[in-house]
Amino acid sequence: MTNQDEHKEGIGGMINPRRYGVERVAYLLMRLSGLGLLAYFIGHIYETSTILKGQVGWNEFLELTQTNAGHAILAIVIAMCVFHTVNGIRVMLGHGGIGVGKPARPDYPYTPASQNIRHKIGIYSAIILAAIAMMYGLTVMFGE
């Protein structure tokens, strides 16, 4: 059965953050930051491997990170790292059943207990901390 036959939403539906509140935004950012950090990790390994070409090769590659574009990329990496860490702690606790509320007879209008204020605070904290860390990184790198 093809994707069309199954009427799957596909990646477009998976990454659409507009319909289900801030939790779905956090879901998307978690995926994007995870992929971004993976790309940075691979790039970082490549960067450090240039030492095998000697001091000159190492210095040449290091200069790339000293450009404006390099600083901007590093600032984004800092933001991704902070968001992924803070939100990851929230998600890991949730995955263990911690902080997701207790089962109870639901009353209309059925506000889901698992989407409680603690999780929302966790998500907003991750976003705010990531933004602060990125701004600090930009200040340090461009303030030199």
């Binding site: 059965m1 939403e9 779905r24 949730g94 995955h95 089962p103 889901p112 698992s114 989407q115």
Partner: protein
């Protein structure tokens, strides 16, 4: 195509208002893509989306395919995408959507039979897979045993999850279901928790083994969309995380 209902349209005493109802039409047997038909429908503040669709079937086009039964959010038949979100058509009033255009489409992540009707086979298969019934040793049933007693506290552990009506809205909203055809889905996982948390049930290890799969519980990333669309307050996301708590040793 746009058609307008003529009922009470010009009456000065009428409290009717008009909306445009866009209905997705698609027959997988001979259509290559989904198209939309538009109808002008009159509604009162209590009119549901299902009633508007039935109005279309009654006065404009009886060939619109839609599944419905109880009209009171009990049978779980009329799930569909209404203005971009999975909802029960019988449980969604037009007036609460705050839009002059109502777009109805078949639920995502379910194969389409025709128009708004989708196939539920996979949902029922995954539901059946997690053994949705009480499992207990035969030797527990003695001649004197007529019932298994539970305290109110024990009942509270699972009663919320027994409200599931198998409407499929949670599976339609789930981001993992959007890409993974083999994922067991929030509906079945929440039902696995419902039975694991039941003090009368002895099938916990059996069920945890079933869902401990690469396309099982580990594919849930706690986006929580399933809980946001559940029309019965089941909160599948909570059930799944509590169930995972058993598997990770946070609960016993």
């Amino acid at each position: 195509m746009a058609l307008t209902s003529g009922l009470a349209e010009n009456s000065p005493l009428s409290s009717f208002q008009l909306i445009t109802l866009r209905i997705a039409r698609y027959n997988p047997e001979h259509d290559s893509a989904k198209t939309f038909m538009e109808f002008q429908i009159q509604y009162e503040k209590w009119t549901t989306v299902l009633e508007a669709i039935l109005e279309v079937k009654k006065y404009f086009d009886h060939s619109v395919a839609v599944r419905y039964s109880c009209r009171q959010a009990t049978c779980g038949s009329c799930g569909m995408i209404i203005n971009g979100k999975p909802r029960l058509a019988c449980f969604t009033k037009i007036s609460e959507l705050n839009s002059n255009i109502i777009t109805v489409e078949p639920m995502n992540n379910f194969p389409i039979i025709r128009d708004l009707a989708v196939k539920f086979e996979r949902l029922f298969d995954t539901h059946h897979k997690i053994k949705p019934y009480l499992i207990h040793d035969d030797n527990e049933i003695t001649k004197d045993t007529k019932e298994f007693l539970q305290s109110p506290e024990e009942l509270e552990q699972y009663i919320q999850f027994s409200n599931c009506i198998k409407c499929g809205l949670c599976n339609s909203a789930c981001p993992t279901m959007a890409t993974d055809s083999s994922f067991v889905g929030p509906q079945a996982l929440a039902q696995a928790y419902r039975y694991v948390a039941d003090s009368r049930d002895k099938g916990k290890d059996n069920r945890l083994k079933i869902i401990d799969d690469s396309h099982g519980i580990w594919r849930c990333h706690f986006a929580g969309s399933c809980s946001q669309v559940c029309p019965k307050g089941v909160d599948p996301a909570m059930g799944i995380q509590l169930l995972r708590g058993y598997m990770l040793g946070f609960r016993s």
